[in-house]
C-alpha cells in the first residue's frame, strides 16, 4: 500500500463531509420552501441551483486534489 492512496482517500472522504451536510441542508430548505409555496418553485429553482453549485464546489476541490494526488504525483 502506498501512502498516496491513503492520502487521496482521506482527502476525498474528509472533503466530502462538509459539502454533503451543506447540500443536505440546502436541499431540505428548498423542498420546505416549495412545500410551503408550490407556486414559487420557478423562482426558487435558479437560486437553488446556484447555491447547490457553490456548495458542491468545495467537494469538487477535494476531488481534484485527491485525483492529483492519485494520478499526477
Amino acid at each position: 500500500m502506498d501512502l498516496h492512496t491513503l492520502a487521496a482517500g482521506l482527502a476525498m472522504g474528509l472533503g466530502g463531509i462538509g459539502p454533503g451536510i451543506g447540500l443536505g441542508i440546502g436541499f431540505s430548505k428548498a423542498m420546505e420552501a416549495i412545500g410551503r409555496n408550490p407556486e414559487a418553485s420557478g423562482t426558487i429553482f435558479v437560486p437553488y441551483i446556484l447555491g447547490l453549485a457553490l456548495t458542491e464546489a468545495i467537494g469538487i476541490y477535494a476531488l481534484v486534489v485527491s485525483l492529483i494526488i492519485l494520478f499526477a504525483s
Partner: protein
C-alpha cells in the same frame, strides 16, 4: 487499474502550436454547434416545425430564466449566457459518445502500453474551462464598467461601505472577485474529469464479468445516464453563475449611501421561469 492522464495529451504540433486531443474535442463541439445553427436557422419559421421547437425549447427555457433573474438589461448579456450554456452542453455531451477517449494510438510510456486517444472530452482539460471562466470574468468586469462607469466601478471595488473597514474588506473583495475564475473553471473541470474517470473505472471493474453476467453493459450505462444529467447541470450552473456575476456587477451601485438598497438584489421579474419544475 485504469490509466488516467490529468492533462490533455499532445497529438501533434503545428509550429509552436501544440494540438492536444482536448482541443480536437472542443473543435468538434464548435463544428457541431455551427452546423446546428446553420441547419436550424436556414429553414426556421415563425410557426416552428417539430425539430425546430425541440431545439428552441431549451433555449427558450434558459432565456426565460435570464429574463426572470437578469434584471432590466437582460437582453445585453443573454446571448453570451446562452452561448456559454450551449457550448459547454455540447462539449459535455459529445464527450459521452463512444470512441471519445477510447480510440487512439498505442504508445509505450515507461514500459507500459497506454492509449493516446484522438478525442478527449473538451472540459476534461483545465485550459478549456479556464478560458471560458476568463471570458465570463472579462464579461462581468466589462458590464460592471459599462453600468457604473470607471469611477463607480473602482469605488465599488476598492472602498468598503464604512470607510474605516476598507483595509480589511478590500483585499477580501479582490480575492473573491479573482476566486470566481478559479471556482468556475475548477468546478467544470473537476466534474467532467471525474465523470470520465468514473466511467472508465466502472467499465474496467465490470469488464471481467462479461462472460458470467452482462454487467459490463448495464453498469456503465447507468453511469452514462448520470453523466448526461451532470453534463446538463454543469452547463446550466456555469451559465447561471456567469449570469449572476454579471447581474451583480451591473446592479451593485450604491451612489450616495442613503438609498443603497435600491439596486442591490437582482430583480425577480414578474414572469416566473416557465417550464421549470
Amino acid at each position: 487499474m485504469v490509466h488516467v492522464e490529468i492533462k490533455a495529451e499532445e497529438l501533434f504540433a503545428i509550429g509552436p502550436l501544440i494540438v492536444t486531443n482536448s482541443m480536437v474535442g472542443v473543435l468538434l463541439a464548435s463544428v457541431v454547434l455551427l452546423l446546428a445553427t446553420w441547419w436550424f436557422t436556414r429553414r426556421s419559421a415563425v410557426v416552428p416545425s417539430r425539430g425546430q421547437s425541440m431545439i428552441e425549447l431549451p433555449i427558450e427555457f434558459l432565456a426565460g430564466v435570464v429574463r426572470g433573474t437578469g434584471g432590466k438589461r437582460w437582453r445585453q448579456f443573454a446571448p453570451l449566457i446562452l452561448a456559454i450554456f450551449l457550448y459547454v452542453l455540447v462539449a459535455n455531451w459529445l464527450s459521452l459518445l463512444p470512441g471519445v477517449g477510447t480510440i487512439g494510438l498505442a504508445e509505450e510510456v515507461d514500459g507500459e502500453k497506454i492509449i493516446v486517444p484522438f478525442v478527449r472530452a473538451g472540459a476534461a482539460d483545465l485550459n478549456f474551462t479556464l478560458g471560458l471562466a476568463l471570458i465570463s470574468f472579462v464579461a462581468f468586469i466589462a458590464f460592471g464598467l459599462r453600468a457604473n462607469g470607471l469611477r463607480g466601478y473602482l469605488k465599488e471595488l476598492l472602498i468598503a461601505e464604512p470607510a474605516y473597514m476598507t483595509p480589511l474588506l478590500t483585499p477580501i473583495h479582490l480575492i473573491s472577485e479573482l476566486s470566481r475564475v478559479i471556482s468556475l473553471s475548477m468546478r467544470l473541470f473537476g466534474n467532467v474529469f471525474a465523470g470520465e474517470v468514473l466511467l472508465a473505472t466502472m467499465l474496467a471493474l465490470t469488464t471481467a464479468t462479461v462472460f458470467i453476467l452482462p454487467l459490463a453493459f448495464v453498469v456503465p450505462g447507468v453511469f452514462l445516464g448520470l453523466e448526461l444529467l451532470f453534463g446538463l447541470v454543469q452547463a446550466l450552473v456555469f451559465a447561471l453563475l456567469s449570469m449572476t456575476y454579471i447581474t451583480l456587477a451591473i446592479a451593485e451601485h450604491r451612489q450616495h449611501g442613503s438609498d443603497d438598497h435600491s439596486g442591490e438584489a437582482p430583480e425577480q421579474g414578474a414572469a416566473p421561469a416557465h417550464g421549470s419544475a
